[in-house]
């Protein structure tokens, strides 16, 4: 019977158990992950099982790093996400948070587009750091994502998106995430994607300013267009954008990306 351990095929005897194989292959492992979940007890193995053995505190060898990082993904899921490409239009509060989540789940390729640089007032909600002030957002984000998951290919465009360049720059993506600040830009990308890239799922953020009312933020679908937010709370003088609610909306978007790529999960 054949299973994989740290991404490598290993032959096991039919009566060999999880703990026996772990002791044989990596005796010093103190974390045993079996099919995406930490094993709480010894158990029999089945053909095709995916086992990851980790020793806490040990820096993994380069060849096994990806398997160890993906150990908490459900088998099969990671392979599908790795094939996918997602475009993120705008790298502010929504876009930087969407990018973090999608890099952590191991989306194979991300296309980032933004023309702006990091300024101090971005740090209240956007995934940048003090020392990145002044850098182009796409460059700063790309560098940080590399530290989160080096197996994601990040393609960055320092550009203002327009009806002319959107179909060109974003057409390689399976799913497009709208992550602009200005509502006029949201209208522009919706009109452009729905008419120039018909059938391409587009996930927009609309209404996430202020604080509280977590459960007012929802995802709803209108054909190929998905809308995440409360569709009411406008960012305006007296009601700014704050990290928690922006990240809630951003992760509604990232979660919808997964549902489109993987299909709806059973409860």
């Amino acid at each position: 019977m054949r299973i994989t351990i740290n991404e490598r095929p290993v032959e096991v005897k039919p009566d060999e158990t999880l703990y026996q194989v772990a002791a044989r292959v990596k005796p010093d492992a103190d974390l045993i992950i079996w099919n995406g979940f930490p094993a709480a007890a010894d158990q029999p193995l089945s053909e095709g099982d995916e086992v990851v053995l980790i020793r806490r505190g040990e820096q993994p060898a380069p060849h096994e790093l990806e398997a160890l990082m993906a150990a908490r993904h459900t088998p099969g899921v990671h392979a599908r996400l790795k094939q996918a490409c997602v475009a993120i239009a705008g790298c502010g509060g929504l876009g930087s948070n969407v990018a973090f989540s999608l890099a952590r789940v191991g989306i194979g390729r991300l296309i980032l587009a933004d023309y702006d640089v990091v300024v101090p007032s971005n740090l209240n909600r956007q995934q940048y750091f003090l020392e990145q002030i002044g850098q182009y957002k796409v460059d700063a984000l790309r560098a940080t994502l590399e530290r989160v998951n080096p197996f994601v290919r990040v393609e960055s465009h320092r550009v203002e998106l327009t009806p002319e360049n959107i179909p060109v720059l974003l057409s390689g993506a399976d799913v497009i995430v709208e992550a602009f600040d200005r509502a006029e830009m949201k209208v522009l990308i919706i009109e452009t994607v729905l008419t120039r890239l018909p059938g391409r799922p587009l996930i927009v953020g609309s209404g996430m300013a202020g604080y509280g009312r977590s459960n007012a933020i929802q995802t709803r679908r209108e054909g190929d267009l998905y809308i995440c937010g409360d569709e009411v709370s406008e960012a305006r003088p007296g009601r700014g954008l704050m990290a928690p609610r922006v990240a809630i909306a951003a992760n509604h978007q990232a979660n919808q990306v997964l549902e489109i790529l993987l299909g709806e999960e059973q409860p």
Binding site: G93, A235, L241
Partner: protein, 65 residues
């Protein structure tokens, strides 16, 4: 009869998107219109003739991100 965001609305000859917008006091430029699931771009609102039975979706986009 047409539907505007699911609400039954009288239809008449010559009805355009622009007229629907004016009569419903939708003044914001931050709106996307879909008719029967297809986007009608802003530059077409003046001329786009809404047909009897059409399903019109008016989507307001909210600033912030």
């Amino acid at each position: 009869m047409i539907a505007v965001n699911g609400r039954d609305t009288e239809w008449r000859e010559g009805l355009t998107i622009r007229i629907i917008m004016q009569e419903n006091k939708y003044t914001s430029p931050r709106i996307v219109i879909k008719v029967n699931g297809h986007v009608v771009r802003q530059e077409q609102w003046e001329s786009y003739a809404v047909q009897d039975g059409d399903d019109v979706l008016v989507l307001h986009l909210i600033a912030g991100g």
